[in-house]
């Protein structure tokens, strides 16, 4: 990589301006300002920074939280169903369930109806932690209620749901 000054001899490769412009003080986003992907990505970063990441010390991220809530609402759920609900591969679910099982928050029980599957069940401790995490998640997202009216929040959720 030639990261030299190369102040001459490359003029023919320049598209816009050779002169040593002062760096712009305010940045023009161009096409990005109307890009859905750009805004969705920034929104996700903003949500992560608000505390949704590393939600309760432990190594419990959004995926673990999602799996826990799903198993709470749907006792006996199978791993491939977690994968579908969270939009990730079934192979990626294994490590998530492993972690929750190691924490003692969740049990795998081989299904008798279909012995290829596990049924997933929360333990009592898992149910307790789910409650704690749910509260934390709600607090992490509570700033949205300051930014948006209830109507606007519903609008946003509805519009996003149509994208997925």
């Amino acid at each position: 990589m030639s990261r030299t000054e190369s102040s001459t001899g490359t003029a023919d490769r320049m598209s816009v301006s050779l002169p040593d412009l002062p760096a712009p003080t305010s940045v023009n986003l161009g096409l990005l300002s109307s890009s859905l992907a750009f805004h969705v990505r920034k929104a996700q970063l903003a949500l992560q920074r608000r505390g949704l990441r590393n939600i309760s010390a432990m190594h419990v991220g959004p995926a673990e939280f999602g799996a826990l809530v799903l198993c709470e609402q749907n006792p006996g759920m199978a791993q491939f169903q977690i994968a579908a609900a969270l939009d990730i591969d079934k192979a990626s679910v294994v490590a998530i369930i492993d972690r929750l099982e190691e924490l003692g928050w969740l049990l795998r029980r081989r299904s008798n109806h279909d012995r290829r599957r596990y049924g997933l069940y929360l333990t009592a401790e898992g149910a307790r932690q789910a409650q704690v995490l749910r509260t934390q998640a709600e607090e992490a997202e509570s700033f949205a209620h300051d930014i948006f009216s209830p109507d606007e929040l519903n609008q946003l959720l509805g519009l996003l749901a149509r994208l997925g």
Copy 2:
């Protein structure tokens, strides 16, 4: 990891139901259905699947595309400004600019106004590629125009912008 059947002896740890439930046929999302983070994440995945990822063969991802568009709109821009605009660390910008420079799409030119900085400028080839990529990005997001009315799309963009 004991992934045995453990059909007995763990009843005290179960929070919900011991019986071997058939896996639920339809999944209840619980709290997730009203979670902003959950919907934003699914929306991002949907956008990526629509072709925004690996946008033009080469190793040109969303970050490279963003940097290219920014430099096109703001000739002489510095790397730390790219970092701020894309919401990533300045250290992460280095590799992105390296790649664009290797492709011959972009030039670093040490600024004379502040010799700590580089001014970033598109090459003629970079400007050509920016046009190609812009078209591809617009096509990748065009499905949004099928899903949303122009008003709805503006609403969504506006609401997302308020989150970031």
